[in-house]
């Protein structure tokens, strides 16, 4: 049961660590990397609070071992804002009141981030099914849908703007 050395890229930073094979990715991120954004909710892959992005796909980090991410690129909610500026999905949740207690929010944000890259112009129905792996017990989802719509609009507007020289 020896430890394994793993290397991965977390939020753009290359890291190398020794882990026990049984270490879940969410424990690794929270306890080794001190990235406590991904939350441990149900621990059974139902609630989605632990959602992170691995190699361009949304994954529930409570149901994946850290050793499985050898060589992977991982993005957590801490990696969304750039240069002190909120990402469009974060701005959307803030503007549209897409949270109350906030526990599910990191998972919602990382999932919305990937969902909008896969589908930049979603219908409400597509947002609801795209976000169906994330549970929220406060909002009733209405404002979460609005927040994702806000972010989708903002990302499309940003894409139209000319790149500054």
């Amino acid at each position: 049961m020896s430890k394994k050395i793993i290397s991965m890229n977390v939020n753009g930073k290359k890291i190398e660590e020794a882990v026990e094979p049984r270490t879940l990715l969410v424990h690794f991120l929270r306890e080794k990397m001190h990235l406590t954004g991904a939350h441990i909710g149900c621990e059974t892959s139902h609630c989605g609070a632990c959602t992170v992005d691995i190699d361009g796909e949304s994954v529930k980090s409570c149901t994946c071992f850290a050793v499985q991410c050898e060589g992977s690129e991982v993005i957590t909610v801490e990696g969304l804002a750039q240069g002190g500026v909120l990402h469009a999905v974060q701005e959307g949740f803030y503007k549209e009141h897409g949270l109350q207690c906030g526990f599910c929010t990191p998972g919602m944000l990382t999932r919305a981030y990937r969902f909008l890259q896969d589908n930049p112009n979603p219908t409400e129905e597509e947002i609801r099914s795209g976000m169906s792996g994330n549970l929220c017990r406060c909002t009733g989802y209405q404002n979460i849908v609005k927040a994702v719509q806000y972010a989708a609009n903002k990302l499309r507007e940003d894409a139209k703007k000319p790149v500054a020289a």
Partner: protein, 287 residues
């Protein structure tokens, strides 16, 4: 919840994986998507000393057509099935089923092979594979062998896989034109297992049934193929009276476990109803 300790192995080829399985025997477990195994390990229902991860074996992934047969690698994920243009065109039942399995994050990890090899009657692919007359390709130290889906499931968590074998691919014939299909799954919420579900593959000619296959999910210790109900339909027009007989025949083979989704009587009744609805929905494609 922290799983028990184990040694982690990450083979790059199927033969390496088979060699590891042969070496460790019942001390080893195969790790596919992990969405059944990891929860079981956390609860210490499974405590393998060795975990053999199939995720880095490229030959186990992908969907292709070869010699008139669709071959689906066992490690193909539910999302790859859902978005496969080849399957949407040739076996549209499979993408339709994948859409009803779990949620987007879980579909990124969960695999068709894991869903089948786990031997859980609550999983959706076993009944689908039975209804599609799928063939499973198993690989062990002495090479490959093929097993029909209907002969694969021996009991809950018990399958035809030997201790040193791996399910490597699933083979299915493409649908003939105007083949009807449907999967009706009664579930309490997104991502839940079926309370009861029925898969139907149907062909008709001159208003009469020429071929029908009915697979049932989560209403017995294994997925079921409702052969007696199918026989009632061959050569007949589909009338409300015939659907009553078929539903009755389906109910007679159900033996569900009671749980929070319902008691045995309710699940049995729902299996009949899901079958009736799936047949009705499938008929639309036969016209």
């Amino acid at each position: 919840m922290i799983p028990p300790s184990f040694d982690y192995h990450c083979p790059k080829t199927v033969s390496e994986a088979v060699a590891l399985l042969t070496k460790f025997g019942d001390e080893a477990k195969i790790l596919a998507g992990g969405h059944s195994l990891l929860p079981m390990m956390k609860l210490r229902f499974a405590e393998p000393a060795n975990l053999i991860d199939l995720n880095k074996i490229p030959e186990l992934r992908g969907i292709k057509e070869e010699g008139g047969v669709i071959k689906i690698g066992a490690m193909t994920t539910e999302n790859q099935i859902l978005f496969s243009e080849l399957l949407q065109k040739k076996i549209p039942l499979l993408p339709e089923v994948a859409k009803l399995i779990a949620d987007p994050q879980v579909r990124n990890r969960g695999t068709i092979g894991g869903d089948i090899a786990h031997g859980d009657p609550a999983n959706d692919h076993p009944a689908i594979a039975m209804a599609l007359d799928a063939i499973f390709v198993l690989q062990g130290p002495n090479g490959q062998r093929k097993v029909n889906a209907v002969d694969f499931f021996h009991g809950t968590y018990m399958t035809a896989l030997a201790e040193d074998e791996i399910l490597v691919s699933i083979e299915v014939s493409p649908f003939a034109p105007k083949t009807g299909y449907a999967y009706h799954k009664l579930k309490r919420k997104t991502g839940d297992w079926a309370t009861a579900a029925a898969a139907v593959v149907l062909q008709m000619s001159g208003g009469k049934v020429t071929h029908v296959a009915i697979g049932l999910t989560n209403v017995a210790p294994t997925a079921l193929r409702a052969s007696a109900a199918e026989k009632l339909m061959i050569g007949k027009e589909v009338t409300p009276a015939l659907l009553d007989q078929v539903a009755e025949s389906v109910r007679s083979i159900c033996d569900p476990a009671e749980d929070l989704r319902g008691d045995a009587e309710y699940k049995t009744a729902m299996a009949g109803e899901m079958t009736r609805r799936a047949i009705t929905a499938a008929m639309v494609y036969c016209k």
